[in-house]
Symmetry: C2
């Protein structure tokens, strides 16, 4: 009698190859002759290589990849002088910004240990993040303004899998995380490219309905939550595939389940509680509770990571206001998987969420032609940060409020009404 | 009965850690608060991590590492459109140049497969190299002008070890290459830092003797070689540790056995044959024979890689002239090891050599204060390339020629006379 064996490798190479194809074709829609700037944790090397191959096969000009290394990050916290924590490689980020200005696309592979810095000094973590955010802003603006086609997808790094499935042996943890990523990214299906086409159609339909309603605000109610989010003037809902300013239709997030728009930075009132823990740059922030007045967070607490949260809120003028509101049904496949990923790319697609900080200019009617001043005048927020956190659950009701005060049910118990 | 076992790991972790310390302290003499830009093949991750640790412990501001991946390079040759081979990441190299201008040090870990591109189309290899050289020039100038402290050291990557010891199983090949690197880099000694101090003193003494002689030319004779190399006006010999323009004394090459200076770009006459194969950007060039007239290569051939050689010579105006002449005794430890590394960092330190292309401005009296025009007027060559190749052996005699024609024996049968 022999044992029946499944794939010997924890990460199925066939599905990984499909993920690389989805990232290049659906995620980026990489153009012939277009350069690609990729970032990846070093553990994600197998996926980065497949993406490189498919990018060149799709006609890429030049693929340039930067690998981050968790060991190097930890070596900094263990050995570097204190002054190091105010430094960032602005020369590199300025170069990336130039690459985007010259037409390069951008792909990021997510996969870092979400708790890498959990035991480090929060003041140092915050200083390092702030220095990095300031240096990264010129490059990030090309992403948040959607100047170019970009994509984030994910690889099941062992250090990440160990956090998601702490009770499993590492090989099994990686296998389970890989399966969850592949399912959420629709690459476990026969024809993932086609599956993404029809999924994008569903998200486009929901966005169109919301745009037709022209709500001036959304009202959220549920345990610990009584929140009115005013929507920005001339806001526009988006979801799934979207056209970047360079004319390329891409899917910035693989996976994605959300439809989202820009809230009014000065018209948010009430209280809201997070419904899932938030992993932010290596630390976990849990059970967030905040109160808004005139769009500004005036009270904030968390049961875990409160010191990090409070420092984040003090990053700049816009970091106490929100720049994104997103609707996700509680029954989304990612939520239904029951897996808490400790990674925003996944967890934000399991739950309605809002984001502190920078808004997306594309979430305005004719957003591509607006100046930063025009965006601000319509209520769009501006900040160095953009941090999504989850406020949805099966106990949340959401109503749309029209300009005349009429209420329209949008979600009931976490599902589309 | 149990087997006696040696270190289970092919690369001895204790010696690797010593190499990292030598690279940071002797190689770079990294300063407190100084940033570091590092490049490394992904296979060299263990050494890059140790260097990162020791750099931070030495007070580094920020260490930024770029990993190259041989698989990605090959994917380009297998899948990219033809136009890709004229592209290079100038935005990245311009950023590196900016980092150096802002005071960063530079460390490169060598370790690539020297024959990675041997079976690729030489025309494409040449186009890719030329595009890269043009884009890299602004950054490279900070190195060739010795504006900053920099270092190259080496890691025994499996793909490199497999070329050096093709008949050994890969673990044994890596172990043997590691031992050869550690010995050449003096980290197999009890106190490598002290060993480098006394080695630098020997090289400084040889440089001082040569500088005292004020030769106007060197004459090489041996099988296939009858060559007179005029030395640049106000040339200065250097070797071992050297002071960069930023005031830091560093050892740019680990290992190093050479003393070297700037030849006169227009005063080289005669014929010379290479004595070791040259690995140039993934291809092997062997049995080079060239003839110089008035400093310019007017005839060139090679038994292998001739097409690559001829393309390299046509890179630009300066690529047919030489920019460096270096003296290494045939009995150097690297030569004595009998290992042909197929890597210039090592092979050039086993043999007298010359370099096609760009000269080093520091190899002039008061070189730091000279303009490019002044350097050219003194006979310093300028080019996008700088390619060392080996012309020394135990059959080569070298005489120094004074301005008045007097001949002084410098080397006999490959050894200091």
């Amino acid at each position: 009698m022999t044992n029946l064996s499944v794939s010997a490798e924890p990460v199925d190479p066939v599905q990984l190859d499909k993920l690389a194809q989805v990232a290049v074709h659906t995620g980026l829609q990489l153009q012939v002759g277009q350069d690609l700037v990729m970032t990846a944790p070093i553990a994600a090397l197998p996926l980065a290589r497949l993406i490189t191959k498919h990018a060149y096969a799709a006609g890429a000009g030049l693929v340039t990849t930067f690998y981050s290394d968790e060991e190097a990050t930890l070596a900094r916290y263990s050995h570097a002088p204190d002054a190091s924590f105010d430094r960032a490689p602005s020369w590199l980020y300025d170069g990336m910004a130039k690459a985007y200005e010259n037409g390069a696309a951008r792909l990021a592979i997510a996969g870092d240990n979400p708790l890498l810095l959990a035991s480090q000094d929060p003041a140092r973590v915050s200083r390092a993040n702030t220095a990095n955010s300031i240096a990264y802003k010129p490059a990030l603006e090309h992403i948040s303004n959607f100047d170019i086609n970009w994509n984030i997808c994910a690889y099941p790094s062992p250090s990440w899998a160990a956090q998601v499935f702490p009770d499993l042996p590492i090989d099994q943890a990686v296998r389970k995380l890989a399966e969850a990523i592949f399912a959420a990214s629709r690459v476990n299906l026969e024809d993932p490219i086609e599956a993404w086409r029809s999924h994008n159609a569903v998200l486009a339909e929901r966005s169109a309905w919301l745009n037709g309603q022209r709500f001036s605000a959304l009202h959220y109610s549920g345990p610990g939550t009584d929140l009115t989010i005013g929507l920005a003037d001339d806001h526009e809902w988006h979801g799934g595939a979207s056209v970047a300013k360079n004319g390329v239709t891409c899917n910035p997030n693989i996976p994605t389940e959300e439809v989202f728009t820009t809230p009014h930075a000065h018209r948010v009132e009430g209280t809201v509680s997070s419904t899932k823990p938030l992993s932010y740059q290596g630390t976990l922030i849990d059970e967030i509770q905040v109160r808004f007045e005139a769009g500004r967070i005036v009270e904030a607490s968390a049961s875990r990571g409160e010191d990090v949260l409070l420092k984040v809120l003090d990053t700049d003028e816009g970091s106490r206001r929100i720049g994104e509101v997103a609707l996700v049904p509680h029954s989304s496949p990612i939520s239904a998987s029951g897996v808490l990923f400790y990674n925003t790319l996944f967890d934000e697609n399991a739950s309605c969420h809002i984001a502190l900080g920078q808004c997306y200019s594309k979430c305005f009617v004719d957003g591509a032609s607006l100046t930063p001043e025009q965006i601000a005048a319509k209520g769009g927020n501006s900040s160095l940060i953009h941090i999504d956190w989850m406020i949805g659950s099966d106990q949340i009701d959401i109503d749309g409020i029209r300009a005349d005060g009429e209420k329209v049910p949008v979600m009931r118990k976490g599902e589309w009404a």
